[in-house]
Symmetry: C2
Subunit: 357 residues, 2 copies
């Protein structure tokens, strides 16, 4: 019984970096005898071009049947002016929601070899290893009612609804506590409970769930303070758990602390640990087609997929070790290049990882 | 016709730092013959203790009649467990709303003397001078409906509404563009227009208003990217304009880039430039009563008040110059102290500024 992966190369630099991800996948599949197979589908702008919608039925069906999805990145200026309901991002939001991928895991890890790439002082970020657990299928991203209406006085008013139910909060809280048990046993739940009722319920339920994990130390922090503390002293955090919008903001801030967002993978999981795996960075249309994009976040997304969905920790470790090796060799794509290291392109980087395997 | 200021010392370190603010106010009032008078009222926890509500009618009436309000900080653990509708923060939100203080100006400035206090590398933050313009009386902070309801299946659900009308967006956009005209003529409007309709309207209206300021360069940025860019390269920004919630998060992040939030004042203005002025930091209950809090943000709030509400630029400059002088003298409160400088208490710092005037 072969395990199947759907690959979505997407737009911009997507196809280039995914090509390297696939080489690595092929290599570990063979070396560790994983029995994985994969096929390609369209998501985002390329799907709009081919089928007029960002998430064609065929893609959704294939993703539903697959055991995991590997995504590069979607979107670009070409599709920025089309009708909002069929923009590339809509395809991304829809696949998250349709596959019920409510748990978004975004690690912010500083590779020692890349310490100098951070805009923060080395002593503040050296050894950084935080995991942001973001709720991904609820909150203001999906809340109803939403839209733009015309008021009686003739002016327009835009509105969105931030909404979370107990069960939505409870299931993401469990994910965070379980992951903390495998790490440093600290969870910080981020809310704005002094202003927003929806996050007051968030705080109450995470506190309740926390009682089931007596070994884990739970703290609560307001989102404005969390945005500050990530800059002041990010190493105080282990696991951060928060809602969809705060998670979007804080995970990008945390990723940038490392100075090398081109290195960071992410996972979006459902209740059965089926997952969609993708780099934290975007489709970078400005450098698309130039062969200079960093494929490592995609390659590390392959590793995350092997670990979380396929339980192949050994193969995942092998990829991560290989990435460490190429960094030790001094190879760097343009985004992480510094004086004294060797600048390489997308393909050269991917092949160096394969060679190191 | 004397101009009157209502002073709200609030809770925690509030009374200590405000005492120094008042000394500075008295000194410039005399030296520049400003003809200002002032009186004290209660807001926050101290008002709850005295009157059972965080914003007593007497305080609100006095603030309405006054030309400006000077606030230290409110809140503390003592009032964290009381009924949410009468918590200290509610008094703050209510006074903002009742006085129609829709324009919140939060500068993030790095004093050259304090460059080493930042957790960012000196070259990234040296010379930093950003102004965040946050909408303060709308958005999800005040949107209806809001609350916690019980669903048919018996579980509870929390909900809040993010809402902005054209006119609310238009007036805050004008404030941002006008301020940019006096600065480096760049405005970055922050939204999440790829997901939220309410911020799609925000983007549309700021673009429209921008056409009235052809000299100002307008850009748009998603909030997740803005949180990243503030860490990566904060000096790319001049004026940032955004809604209430994003402004709360980004202004705290920006403040922390300087490493010295104890130095940062803020202004909350209405349409007639009547304003409430307060330090960006909170009431710091952990160090209250110890005489070690930094009074400089409060002192600089006095300067901001003189500049924006009373049009006394000369007196404002004098205060800012005096603050620069005491920093040059090497005086530091504990929060900004580094090896080789002289640690002083709240009172000593305040008196040094008065002496430097
Ligand atoms: C593209 C956008 C809709 C998306 C989000 O906001 O979730 C992205 O920023 C992310 O974080 O994956
Ligand atoms: C205390 C709180 C309600 C307030 C806010 O969120 O506006 C504070 O964080 C601020 O930024 O002034």
């Amino acid at each position: 019984m072969s395990k199947h992966i759907v690959i979505l190369s997407g737009d911009g630099i997507g196809p280039e970096i995914m090509a390297e991800g696939e080489k690595v996948l092929a290599k570990v599949n063979e070396r560790f005898n994983l029995g994985l197979s994969w096929s390609h589908e369209l998501l985002g702008g390329c799907a709009i071009d081919a089928h007029g919608v960002p998430l064609p039925d065929q893609t959704l069906e294939a993703a539903r049947k697959a055991d995991a999805v590997l995504l590069a990145a979607v979107g670009g200026p070409k599709w920025d002016t089309i009708e909002r309901s069929i923009r590339p991002e809509r395809g991304l939001l829809k696949i998250r929601s349709e596959l019920n991928l409510f748990a978004n895991l975004r690690p912010a890890i500083l590779y020692p070899q890349l310490a100098s790439a951070s805009s923060l002082k080395p002593e503040i970020v050296a050894g950084l290893d935080i995991l942001i657990v973001r709720e991904l299928t609820g909150g203001i991203y999906f809340g109803q009612p939403r839209g733009v209406r015309t008021l009686e006085n003739g002016e327009r008013q835009g509105y969105n609804t931030d909404v979370y139910s107990e069960s939505e909060i409870r299931r993401i809280a469990h994910v965070a506590f379980q992951l903390a048990m495998q790490r440093n046993k600290k969870v910080c739940s981020v809310d704005k409970a002094n202003v927003l009722e929806v996050t007051e319920l968030w705080k109450e339920i995470t506190t309740e769930v926390g009682k089931e994990y007596p070994e884990v130390q739970l703290s609560h922090m307001y989102v404005d303070n969390a945005a500050m503390q990530l800059v002041r002293n990010p190493k105080q955090f282990d696991v951060i758990v928060t809602g969809n919008l705060f998670g979007d903001i804080l995970s990008d801030e945390a990723a940038m602390l490392t100075g090398s967002i081109g290195m960071l993978p992410s996972a979006s999981l459902d209740q059965q640990k089926k997952g969609m795996y993708e780099p934290c960075h975007g489709s970078a249309p400005d450098i698309a087609g130039k062969g200079i994009a960093n494929p490592l976040a995609t390659i590390l997304s392959v590793a995350m997929m092997l670990r979380y969905t396929f339980n192949e920790g050994e193969a995942a470790n092998a990829i991560e070790t290989a990435v460490g090796k190429v960094l030790d060799q001094g190879l760097r794509t343009a985004d992480i290049w510094t004086e004294g290291t060797k600048k390489v392109g997308t393909q050269e980087m991917g092949e160096a990882v394969v060679a190191a395997l």
